[in-house]
Each structure stands twice: as structure tokens, then as C-alpha cells.
Symmetry: none
Subunit: 233 residues, 2 copies
DNA sequence: CAGTGGTCTAGACCACTGG
DNA sequence: CAGTGGTCTAGACCACTGG
């Protein structure tokens, strides 16, 4: 299980960008130069540059060369994405910390949102998601037991609630509310931020063919997470 | 300028997923099978699958094969709405306070974002939008003069910049970044909030057929504004 | 065992940029 | 012109999965 050579070359360049030896606009070594420096074939040197290009760190122009991009990429699409996939797609490590897994009686508002009777039992999970061991999302989720009876038996350290629910109750509809908020001291502590730091909060309700599956509150430290979107046509 | 072969193969598979010939979980042809079908080398067939994998459409497992992913990434439509229309639709009164209307020389970053020369003149407007006389949005906007020559002559108390630009340079493309931030004392004063209140900030870049039209920073008091989205199917 | 995807080589031709 | 990145070939060895 040794490191692929193209990864070694990729990191070599990435490090130089991170520590300032290469600045935006600077030219990085060409494919041929990397071939010689690392004694690899051009296809391998090329792959390192290609991955960096795909990640938005380099801009490559035939006839000219490869250059460090002006701006580091903006995180993500406005998608219903699995936070674990999102972290992995950035090449970072993902971990989950389970804060709480229990059942609660539905309040009037919760019952209405999930279309169940008041005081009926709901599955409840609270999980903190970490990217390279830094908290990036607090997830508080209520689930309609009729839609996912085995919810509390899952190991959410390996499969996110989102991924699990998508499997047992395929998503047909979703609504979101996005706002900027302050959070309680308890949540701030878990997210390792000051309690007066602004947070990006997403409240989401998801439907499957059979009805409302789940309502979730996702809270992100404002300085560690942003939503990106691109629209065309 | 012919289509690369790996793109042809990629589209071949993408089409089968789109029209339902391949469903989530189905196995797609292996690299070797594609080599024979399309008479290409394995590296080329591989590239088609690799790109689809990077896009999240396939999941590949050594020893097993390549399979159609369970979930297509779902983008939630975030509407680009006119703030005045939005306020009116809530049955409230709308007013605009013009803070600033001038021309500025493009910084390096601004020039790059708007695709103009550094130090070329840009139109600049700063407007606070009020709902029932309460500030709900701080709008700081830079406009490419080539796209809307009469921009500074408009009366933005009656027509929002958004509405005017949509008329003279119809929108074809937009990208957003959404984040939670704190704002400067000057902006907080105009928004009539404490400077430590969290704000929802949207950075938006809009394109028309002829190119980038405008970049805008929209700042909303966290307790007075939120974004909503709904996605179906 | 045959088959899969992951990595890699040492070549090739191409359109393009700059000097 | 020499150099760049974009595409492509026909091989290779590997760790791994399933039957």
C-alpha cells in the first residue's frame, strides 16, 4: 500500500502553493520537467497536474504552461449532498462524533412537520461531522419511524444518516431554509467556536414517495463552510 | 476539432443512465468490454469511466466493476429574485436608500472576475433595501460598463439594479457563494443591527450572453432574512 | 481461477503559444 | 522553431473480488 507516484508529485506542488513558494499566477514545472525531476513517464507527471487542475488549483494552457490559479476553489454546489462525500471529494478525512441517539415524543410543531400524531415517538440523532478532525457540521435530525424502522440501529460513524435514509427511503422532494444564526454555548463548544461566531444554518425537510421522512437542522461554523452554486441557461 | 473518443464513450454511458436503460446499482461495461466495443486502448476506455466516477455518476470497485451510483447529485434551485418583488409578495412596502453611485478603477481581483482590464472604470452602486422601513439587504454592486452603459443614470429608488440589468442584459448564467459573516460597523449601522449580529452574505456573479455583467455582494441581517428552496422529483 | 479497476511506462501525433 | 498541454496506444504489474 505505497503512495502512488502521481500523488507524491501532486503533494510536492500543493505544498509549494500552501507555503507560498508558489503564488497565484506563478508557473509550475511543465509535464516534461516533472518527468525528469521524478523519473516518471509523462502520463504520470501529467496526472498530478491534471488532478490539481480538476481541483481548481492550477490553470493549464496548451503552448503556455500550468499556472497557480488566482483563487482557491469555492467549496460546493448547493446540493443535497452527503457531508462525508463532500469532505472526501476535497481529499480530506471524514469522521463523525455521535452526540446522541434516542427517541423523543413529537411536539406539536414537529408532529405537524413530519405529519404524525402529537406525542408519537420520533427517532432522534445528534451528530457532529468532522473534516480533518475539525468540526464542520452539527446535525440534529428527527426521523419518522414509519419510514426507517431500523434508524437507531445504524452505525453513523460509517454511514451518514443522509446516506442511510436515501437508501431505505429514496428522496423525492426536499425543502430548505438557509439562514445566519448564533448558536447555544453547548453547540458552540461541540463545534469548537466562540458562541458569538456567526453560523450558517440549514433547516431541511425531506420527503420520500410515502411522505415526510425527516427534518434536520445542519449548523456550520461561518468561517469554515460556505455554500456555492452555479446556475446556467 | 473532433470529439475526443473518451468523451464519446462517456456520453454513450451517460445517455443510458439518463434514459433509464441503466438504473442505480446496475453494472456498466468494464474497461475491457469498452475497449472492444469502441476499439480503443484501455487507457481511453478507462478515462471515460474515470470522468463519470469523478462526476459522481459511477462507483467503481476493483475486482467487482463499475456501477451506476445510487444518488445523482441534486442541485437545488436558488432563485435570483428581485428584492423589491420579494418584499411586495409579502404584502410589505418596499423602499431603497441610495448610499453611493460612482465609478471605481478595477482592482486586479475585480478585473479578473469581470473579465476586464485592471484599472478600467467600473460602475459601482451601494444600496440599502428596506421592507416596511426596516433594512433587509445591503447591496454592493460592480457592473461592467460595456454591458450596461446607462447604469449610473438609472433611478434605483424605483427600479432595482437587478431588474434593470435583467432588462438590458438578460441573465444566462450565475454563480453564488453563501456564507454567514459579521459585518463592519459602517454596514451594521446602515442595516440598523449590532455589529456582532450574524449576517447572511451572498456573493453573486451574473453572466449575460456577451459575458460577465456584474458582481454583487448582498448582506442580510440574520434575524430578518432567510433563503428558502424547494426541490421536487 | 479469470476478471476488475489502479497504477505506470515509453512511445506517438496534434494544435497551439511564444520568440 | 522548441516547448506546451490534449489525446491516444499497446503493452505491463498489482491487489483485489468472486466463483
Amino acid at each position: 500500500m505505497s503512495t502512488p507516484r502521481f500523488v507524491t508529485i501532486k503533494k510536492f506542488i500543493e505544498d509549494k502553493i500552501d507555503n507560498g513558494q508558489l503564488s497565484p499566477g506563478d508557473r509550475v514545472p511543465s509535464e516534461n520537467e516533472l518527468c525528469q525531476q521524478f523519473s516518471v513517464s509523462r502520463m504520470t507527471a501529467r496526472r498530478a497536474l491534471q488532478v490539481l487542475n480538476d481541483d481548481g488549483l492550477l490553470i493549464r494552457t496548451p503552448g503556455l504552461g500550468s499556472f497557480v490559479a488566482e483563487h482557491r476553489p469555492i467549496s460546493t454546489m448547493l446540493e443535497i449532498r452527503n457531508i462525508a462525500d463532500e469532505v472526501h471529494s476535497r481529499g480530506h478525512s471524514y469522521k463523525a462524533k455521535i452526540i446522541n441517539m434516542d427517541e423523543v415524543a413529537a411536539s406539536e410543531q414537529q408532529a405537524q412537520m413530519l405529519n404524525v400524531d402529537i406525542d408519537s415517538l420520533l427517532f432522534h440523532s445528534v451528530i457532529v461531522h468532522l473534516e480533518d478532525d475539525i468540526p464542520v457540521q452539527w446535525e440534529d435530525r428527527l426521523v419518522n419511524p414509519a419510514m426507517a424502522a431500523q434508524y437507531l440501529q445504524q452505525d453513523f460513524k460509517t454511514v451518514t444518516p443522509n446516506a442511510y435514509l436515501s437508501k431505505v427511503a429514496p428522496l423525492t422532494e426536499a425543502s430548505h431554509k438557509i439562514e445566519a444564526t448564533l448558536v447555544s454555548a453547548a453547540i458552540a463548544a461541540e463545534l469548537q467556536i466562540d458562541s458569538h461566531s456567526p453560523c450558517l444554518q440549514i433547516s431541511r425537510r425531506t420527503w420520500s414517495a410515502a411522505g415526510v421522512v425527516s427534518i434536520a437542522t445542519l449548523i456550520h461554523p461561518g468561517n469554515r463552510y460556505c455554500l456555492g452554486g452555479h446556475w446556467k441557461l
